[in-house]
Symmetry: C2
């Protein structure tokens, strides 16, 4: 075997103990809130058949799928012609039939259809797993990253939208991240497209409107103008995108503008109901009605949600919305659902930049027993067993190394207490406890030690 200088594929990451503790803080907070609101976990395989994945994320998404080479004679379905002409597209279909999941939404839709007879609807599920995208890696964008998805599927009730706002609010409140929750409704945007006679170009419109955060209102208007929308309609769009006021003002304004579009009025009704319910509940976050929020994904059909940090400009840290027919492509029609996805990596960055990570003591022993030699280690093993039996996380240094080295180990690992048990301690049945932080030492019995550490 040759010596290989070790490295990992670009866009992927190792997580060491400290990062793991911080990430677990995020995941366990999210998980606890999901459970509290009655959501249950599922997991799906890392690999899905390509027929499940292809065509669900647009042409661009298809290109970003990681495909898995078929086992054995992977060329068995490849034609001589395609091989000779190096026809990438048909060849890639011939030599791969599985891919790594690209998100958790499509596998969830597949899961719901496949297991529809075992599921009690409405199905409230969450899923926290990595996804893979062959994107060009850059700061904050990875080829392997975790998504935390929570959805209710099988109900059209707006209570689910309200509940998801509460879930988002509680997650970020627990994480001590101040947030703004932006909401809009694709029906409102549809209505707007309808009243300006542009229903057919709804998708183009939303793609442009979606850029407003990045490029600003003026450039959005320029791009809309390039679509050759009549000036009076352009003015109407601008008035919606720039309207300022509270949710109630906006809803009133939209009621007038969208008069004549039944889908638009339906969107206004939905938003009215959601804001009415929210008004009565304690919500820490600022919830705003952002009529310029569009969200790119075409499967959204109702309320759309996006969350940003108030303190760190890093883009959306959570987002989602209602979809009326996610499972249709797998043969199960008319199942409406709504869900949001928490972006663990960006949340990590926000907590890091705002210094919100707690001390993750959980992952560190409370005590290191120093190893002075063979007789001492044998004696210490018994002590250690008592300490662990009391539920205290503890360890012994495995080698008879110099005291200095053993203390350096405790230091590096952030172990707060060190027990010194040498010949005299053994004789007296005592333990010398050293506090690593202050350097202070105390002599105590095992019982006193257990009490002290409890």
């Amino acid at each position: 075997m040759s010596k290989t200088k070790p490295s990992i594929p670009k866009g992927t990451r190792d997580f060491g103990p400290e990062e793991m503790g911080r990430r677990e803080h995020i995941f366990s907070t999210i998980r606890k809130v999901f459970y509290k609101y009655g959501y249950q976990p599922i997991e799906t395989p890392a690999m899905e058949t390509l027929s499940t994945l292809l065509g669900k994320y647009g042409d661009e998404g298809d290109k970003l799928l990681f495909r898995i080479l078929n086992s054995g004679d992977f060329l068995s379905s490849a034609t001589d012609g395609d091989l000779q002409d190096r026809n990438l597209r048909p060849l890639s279909d011939a030599i791969t039939d599985k891919g790594l999941r690209y998100d958790l939404t499509v596998p969830f839709a597949r899961y719901v259809v496949q297991h529809q007879n075992e599921i009690t609807f409405p199905f409230k599920r969450f899923q926290i797993q990595p996804v893979w995208r062959a994107d060009r890696p850059q700061k904050g964008r990875y080829r392997e990253f975790y998504q935390c998805d929570v959805d209710v599927i099988g109900s059209t009730s707006l209570l689910s939208e309200v509940e998801l706002i509460q879930v988002i609010d509680e997650v970020f409140h627990r994480l001590e991240v101040a947030i703004e929750i932006k909401m809009n409704n694709r029906k409102v945007l549809s209505g707007l497209a309808e009243v300006i006679g542009e229903r057919d170009r709804f998708s183009d419109l939303t793609v442009i409107i979606d850029k407003i955060e990045k490029i600003g209102i003026d450039r959005v208007m320029t791009e809309l103008k390039d679509l050759e929308i009549a000036p009076k309609y352009l003015e109407q769009i601008r008035s919606v995108l720039t309207f300022s006021g509270g949710p109630q003002d906006k809803l009133k304004f939209l009621e007038e503008i969208l008069d004549g579009s039944s889908i638009g009025i339906q969107g206004v009704k939905e938003m009215t109901m959601i804001f009415n319910y929210l008004q009565d509940l304690d919500v820490n976050a600022t919830v705003i009605f952002d009529m310029s929020l569009a969200r790119g994904l075409n499967y959204y059909t109702g309320a759309i949600i996006e969350v940003v940090s108030k303190d760190v400009q890093i883009g959306s840290i959570c987002g989602g919305g209602r979809y009326d027919d996610l499972t249709g492509v797998f043969g199960l029609e008319n199942i409406s659902g709504v869900g949001v996805s928490f972006g663990a990596d960006r949340i990590y960055d926000v907590l890091h930049q705002t210094n919100r990570f707690p001390n993750t003591k959980k992952s560190v022993s409370s005590l290191l027993l120093v190893n002075f030699g063979e007789a001492e280690e044998k004696y210490s093993l018994k002590l250690l067993q008592h300490i662990r039996q009391a539920g205290i996380s503890a360890e012994i240094y495995p080698d008879h190394a110099k005291l200095k080295k053993q203390l350096a180990y405790a230091n590096a690992k952030n172990i707060p207490h060190v027990a010194l048990v040498g010949a005299s301690e053994m004789e007296e049945g005592k333990i010398t406890l050293k506090m690593m932080h202050s350097g202070e030492q105390k002599i105590m019995t095992l019982e006193e030690l257990l009490q002290f550490l409890a």
Copy 2:
């Protein structure tokens, strides 16, 4: 988009809420014990470069790696000749440079070498992640499954072996699985090979001895005979493999047999020390010295460990050993380590067959609020907020469905209590609580409800 009948790749699995709860019981038990003994978590990417993976698992293992098709022009390094001749081996190397991890051991070795300057040795780490193998799927063998690895690396101390036995013991004690821990030492086997003049065929010998559980002593002896080992040596091997008695008897016996092999005597010394230490400690499991235990993997160099259930015959549910040079292949020499891996899927089967899964209440709401209509749901949302603020997991049925349907939902989801809040309850400020198990109903105030559910 065409309708696809949804399915998942063979050998992979979906996990629904109930299985997730049970699996989490296993993982969280293992994780808690790992933490208690001072081990810290790491995670590595699902994909590793093929240069990290290839050549580490033998030719058979190389074939079982899932390879990931390169992005973009994946044929750019493929030669016309190889394409024309369909040369699978060079082509697969040309079109893939990443693979899915096959176990957690090689990525761990790669991690240790890559991050050696950040790590404080001895490094006690654990890792719980899925691995992928393109094996033929069969009962109990999957293409995606979880491993739970725990290792100490950077120390030759036998205290680590002792500690891992304690870790194994505590994990299975907490899981209520009665186990037998079998131990042997590769140095003992090396010594045996040496005294019969077969050091060169050590690997062949261990492969045959390793089969004893499956094929029995007689067929093992036949296979050894086929290696043309002299009759007197065959007798010696048989005497070792069939010797019965306690650890001390076996060690004494081996001391005689292995006299003259320094490596063999070293193995006996190590085992003596390990059993001495264990004697003084409380261990629930039966720990036996099994001189026929060989374990297939060639990187083991010292103690080897294998765990079986006393109640379910399913093979090894945990195993491992000491390796003296796992990181050498990545350029870091002379770093000894020892570790074991828990097989979550087999442990699942054992718990399932022996009915040892606890009620996983954690994943289920304690209370469902029935939804009687618009006025009631608005009122109930406030109640629900109070209930959740008290830390109680609860939910409201999102739709105004028939009572029967809502109760069926609570039933299917195993929600133990249902709150009925209709017009009369709203008027009186009361809640009617229905126990799903007994059907009993009680009328109470919110405060009384919170006390009842706390």
